[in-house]
Amino acid sequence: MSADPFLADPFVEPRAINGRAPDVFKPGAWLEMSQYDDNDEVDFVVVGTGAGGGPLIARLAEQGFSVVGFDAGAYFRPLEDFASDEIEQQKLYWLDERIIDGANPIRMGGKNSGKAVGGSTVHFAMVSLRFRPEWFKSRSQLGYGADWPLDWREMWDYYRRAEKALSISGPVNYPWGPHRPRYPYRAHELNGAAEILARGAEAMGYKWTATPLATVSAPHGDSPPCVYRGFCRFGCSTNAKQSQLVTFIPRGIAAGAEIRDLAMVGRIDTGPDGRATGVHYHRQGRWRFQKARNIIVAGYAIETPRLLLASANDRYPDGLANSSGLVGKNLMTQANQAVFGVMDQEVRWNKGPPSLSITEHWNYNDNKDFHGGYCWMAQGPLPVEWASIVTGSRKRWGAPLREEMMRYNHQVGLKMVGEMLPDERNRVTLTDEVDQYGLRIPRITYSWGENDKALIQHALGEMHRSMELVGAKDIFRQEDDTNHLAGTAKMGSDARDSVVNADCRSWDIPNLWICDGSIFPTTGGVNPSLTITAISLRTADRIKALANRGEL
């Protein structure tokens, strides 16, 4: 990759090496870091350093375990490495080839997968929402999907801890759901696009609020307040964004964890007793093996099942943790359709984080003829993304495209995050093609169900009405977009129909854990990362409790 003019130097050599790791807050500075030998049998190997892996790395290290966190991606220094540029910053994404098919293939890459120390949170949009309590029991309480083996009251407590750890900026009173404490930081000011969402919601008689966001509205530690530059989805060059890279990862290193960047885990081995023994990983041009007492996989909904399936051996011919046959199945994405229009006023929607206001009206209202919920948020796509929407949804090219692009500063839009239902036919499998590490490339198969389509149409109609009510002109719909991922290693209370238990421990192999977005039995109608982080914090506590009882 070093020869690539679009990508620069964090890819050439690992940065977290020789007992030190980058200090992301100070140009050129380093943090002291523990370093383990491949032959040290560490307490925990964590594969993936994102929303799921990051908090576990920090909390397990803080509880005294020896921990090594692996990430295939680079260790960025945001202050030095991040340009304000949509193409250059693709270096944050998982761009390795994946084959997509099905009736509604999911476009991968920047829309849904990160590859960096900090995972997808390095370029996520920071929207930090709690599930509606009933979603943890959607089968028994709402009649669809599956029940989680978790209690929402316990989750409410872990959400609070996650919000504190990430210094979430949000409103004093959140309009939906059971009481939650006020957010640690004050809500951000609304930008033009967010004001328009609010006007539209009010005209419809729906509540709205400033969106709880993981970017600070006042200084926190070494993070300065957000400067409203609006490149959040391309990496925050100021460190205002509370990604894993600037929160839990440095905490983990301070507590004695080791991070290995540019380290791709290709296989997990198991021993004669059936327990996992360590991981094969590729770093600095060669394959190595790290011994471990426990392995936690946190590579997100494509890479997690890919690794488990690729680790098949004589004892586990269908892949690890797969006695239920569910590894790779029930992949879920979220509906991310949008309605756009043009205002007379100058909106300049690129200023500030993209989703400064939200309405969760249809997450908490069950008066509808389909299952699941959705919310919608204000939008602010930058020029390259906006051009791809205009070409994709309106089939514009040539002079009409340029003409339309010149209305950019007047453009406004609403974008949904909608719940899609689990379906075993939506899945991740392995192809026979291999990638640059010689590992089999995943195939991702996805088709929307009837319920998904009904939910999308309902949302498009509602967002369209809202745009009309604010006086937007030349309204059009973006019908095909999807974003976040979930599922493929489902959590449950029965080994026959789930992969892990409530503690994210696999049913089949007691020292193999999975803790990331892939354990979701259902995906809810909000962005997933806060829920992943809350579960990760809970899992760390559960591991400690089990260890105390000698049950690891």
Binding site: F6, A83, R98, I99, I100, G192, V227, E346, P383
Partner: protein, 213 residues
């Protein structure tokens, strides 16, 4: 096409706190991309160049964006998208076949190579590809429609809108780090953003755009 942001040049901010050093370097590299093809043959590169001019006809009064060279560089460096439709070959192969197919179709319908056709005729051939009418031949089993939507339009348009010329003509603020924005509400403009010309006040917008920096 009328200039809605007369006198606005996003590059005037290059030396201001809106551009950090990594951004300056990235944009410099992009503007300095080698103009000769490194991945495509020169024959196919000529077709690509002609296609680029139809997909994004460029403004006459701003520096031209070397679109064909940027697309060729993407293929040369194999900067991937992160996914591939099961029915599509990899991007380099897709472009090779697709460009050859456009040339083929131009010959079938107009007895001339694609690059030699007039603009209207080129658009006609492109529309045949867009509608999926073209099939077989150089395309092989690659679906024309998917190639058009996913490769032709996206690759070319992406590179156009990643350039100062495009940012300036659309009145976009461009890079913004470490200086972001202060006035973010409706109808508010920071002095370092483009001023739009509304009916008859061209001169006012031009004057304000002269202060952008």
């Amino acid at each position: 096409m009328t200039d809605r942001f007369p006198g606005y040049d996003v590059l005037a901010k290059r030396r201001t706190p809106s551009w950090n050093e990594p951004t300056r370097q990235v944009v410099n590299r992009r503007l300095a991309v080698p103009r000769e093809p490194r991945f495509l043959t020169s024959d196919l590169f000529v077709v690509l160049d002609a296609v680029c001019q139809r997909i994004v006809p460029q403004p006459k009064d701003r520096p031209p964006v070397p679109l064909a060279a940027l697309v060729d560089t993407k293929l040369f460096t194999n900067l991937q998208d992160g996914f591939r439709y099961a029915e599509m070959p990899d991007q380099g192969e897709a472009w090779r076949r697709g460009l050859a197919a456009l040339d083929e179709a131009a010959n079938t319908h107009y007895q001339l190579g694609f690059a030699k056709l007039g603009g209207e005729q080129q658009d006609d051939v492109l529309r045949r590809m867009e509608s999926g009418e073209l099939a077989g031949g150089a395309l092989g089993d690659m679906p024309a429609k998917l190639f058009f939507e996913h490769r032709v339009v996206l690759d070319i348009v992406t590179f156009y809108y990643a350039n100062p010329t495009a940012w300036s003509e659309m009145g976009y603020g461009g890079p913004a780090s470490p200086r972001g924005y202060v006035r973010i509400g409706l109808d508010r403009r920071d002095p370092w953003e483009a001023a739009e010309a509304y009916e008859g006040d061209d001169a006012k917008a031009r004057r304000e755009n002269g202060f952008v920096g």
